[in-house]
């Protein structure tokens, strides 16, 4: 297996609470990897650990073989790991276009003086950034609203825009934190197709947190199950579905 991300003995304590307890797994290049578990199981904390927002208490993270355990969020983003947030964190006062332009920061170079003087190189870059942003807006069907402030967008539009913003980082690994939250069954089915589509189009590896079991089972190549911070099962959807520990975690004894 060609591991893109290696999580090795990762632990995070918040005071007396162990939110993530000695979790190890690997995510292979190109797969869609599901992360499920009851509320409070430590899924979002695990995302925050991977993206550097929360430093781990112990354990290691490796991305493409390089140790990123101590890296800062912006360094991790620059390495090609992008994410969305459970409670959408767009730049709500800015336009849809600006939200996506901002996410191209690490792939552009215009400094402060070149930007102010609009040198030929700066103009070329600006044009490229704009075209790429419009392309991504078209992908999520928001090109008509490029110049509107995103705070006024509907919940579903904001969810899709946040994915488009993450894609603007040109990541290899995309972490989606409950992308289907608040969507109905039809919307979830469309989301499922969309996620498969972007994996093909952008050659992505995707890790997603999701509660809706049919969506996870239908979409993911492999699934990890967390309960009280511990990894209790890891395998194909069929394996996980029949695992007694998983059934117990979800349904109780």
């Amino acid at each position: 297996m060609n591991a893109l991300l290696q999580v090795d003995g990762l632990t995070r304590r918040f005071g007396g609470l162990i939110a993530v307890n000695n979790v190890s797994f690997e995510v292979a290049t190109g797969e869609i990897f599901g992360l499920i578990g009851p509320n409070g199981a430590g899924k979002t904390t695990l995302f925050n650990l991977i993206t550097g927002l929360t430093p781990p208490s112990s354990g290691h993270l490796r991305y493409k073989g390089a140790d990123i355990t101590a890296a800062k969020p912006h360094q991790i983003a620059a390495r090609g790991i992008a994410r969305t947030f459970q409670n959408i964190r767009l730049f709500s006062g800015l336009s849809a276009l600006d939200n996506i332009r901002i996410a191209q920061h690490v792939h552009t170079h215009t400094g402060i003086l070149a930007g102010v003087l609009r040198t030929p190189a700066a103009r070329r870059e600006e044009q490229a950034v704009r075209e790429r942003a419009l392309e991504l807006l078209r992908l999520v069907h928001l090109e008509q609203r490029a110049d509107e402030a995103v705070g006024g967008f509907s919940y579903g539009d904001q969810r899709r825009l946040e994915i488009a913003r993450a894609l603007a980082l040109a990541p290899e690994l995309l972490l989606l934190d409950e992308p289907g939250a608040g969507m109905n069954t039809n919307e979830k089915a469309a989301l499922s197709d969309f996620i498969r589509h972007i994996r093909e189009q952008f050659n992505l590896t995707i890790v997603l947190i999701e509660h809706h079991v049919p969506l996870v089972m239908g979409l993911c190549d492999r699934i990890a199950v967390l309960n009280f911070g511990e990894l209790i099962a890891l395998g194909s959807p069929a394996q996980v579905q029949n695992d007694p520990a998983v059934i117990e975690a979800y349904l109780g004894e």
Binding site: L53, P73, R89, I112, G115, L117
Partner: protein
């Protein structure tokens, strides 16, 4: 017309200084950093010009101070302010919101106390007899007016460029900006340094303009005044601080003119003449109630644009 400009030359140039200082506070605010340090760098810039022009490049009394030396002083003031901002900003910018504001007020106080006690800054007396490059106060507009235009152009272009968008991202949501690959520390530091450099340059010109420089320049009062320019003018577009600085500096003159209206009771006359800070306070309260984003907002500019096109 000529007599108007001669009578109000001092005021017009002061208005441009205020607008420039408001821009210097607006620059870190673009990146979400509430820094009140502008008066500290303004004071330092002024002392640099005062010391250089009276001690290092003295001119015979009566002869005009060469303009290229003034420009050189402005450059030195910008460089020194920038380096100092880099050193101060690195620890200070770890603080957020009102805590950063408090730390920058402390910097303003440190500069004031140092200048009251150091030999080179002339202690409590300050430095006077700073040579004049121009024959009249209004002529300073050649420097301050051009500087305002250049700064306004700079900030306008900045707002529509890659780094300006990174500033805006930090202002909107620092955590998300980091997750999108923006380095919060260096980006905030850059905004802080730019604001400090501008304030330092304004101080250098202002020292010549005022002819004397002492520890009463660039104090905590000035921090609040400059903040008032930005809040009342508008903190979401570069035109807000400029409008705030120009209008609020002209306001006392307007009030003084109003106080001259015959038949006013003496209490009203003295209030109009001396109640400037009270009136600013009332204006800040009223503007937060009725114009929470300031007088000039991006929405207002969009409306003007549409009207202009129609």
């Amino acid at each position: 017309m000529d007599s108007f400009f001669n009578q109000y030359g001092f005021l017009i140039v002061s208005m441009t200084f205020s607008a420039l200082l408001a821009l210097s506070l607006y620059l870190p605010l673009m990146a979400g950093q509430l820094s009140l340090a502008s008066p500290a760098f303004y004071a330092i810039g002024g002392y640099i010009a005062a010391v250089l022009s009276t001690q290092i490049f003295p001119v015979e009394s009566g002869a005009p101070f060469p303009l290229e030396r003034l420009l050189l002083e402005m450059l030195i003031a910008a460089a020194v302010s920038g380096v100092l901002a880099l050193l101060v900003g690195l620890p200070a910018l770890r603080l957020r919101g009102v805590y950063l504001a408090l730390a920058t007020i402390a910097l303003v106080e440190i500069v004031r106390v140092l200048s009251l006690n150091l030999e080179i800054t002339g202690k409590a007396i300050g430095i006077f007899g700073i040579p004049q490059p121009f024959a009249t106060k209004l002529d300073y507009l050649w420097i301050s007016g051009v500087l305002l235009l250049v700064s306004a152009f700079f900030v306008y272009r900045l707002e529509h460029s890659r780094m300006g968008r990174a500033f805006a991202a930090l202002r909107e949501d620092e955590l998300a900006a980091g997750a999108m690959g923006i380095n919060p520390t260096t980006t905030k530091l850059l905004a802080f340094v730019l604001g400090a450099m501008l304030a330092g340059v304004v101080g250098a010109v202002s020292a010549h303009f005022l002819n004397t420089w002492n520890a009463r320049q660039g104090t905590f009062d000035a921090s609040i005044l400059i903040l008032a320019y930005v809040i009342i003018g508008g903190s979401r577009t570069f035109l807000g601080p400029i409008a705030g600085g120009l209008l609020l500096t002209a306001l006392p003159e307007v009030l003084r003119a109003l106080a001259g209206v015959p038949g006013l009771p003496p209490l009203a006359v003295s209030f109009l003449q001396d109640g400037r800070l009270i009136i600013y306070g009332v204006l800040i309260v009223l503007s937060t109630l009725f114009f929470p984003q300031g007088l000039i907002t991006p929405a207002l500019l969009r409306r003007w644009n549409r009207k202009g096109r129609a």
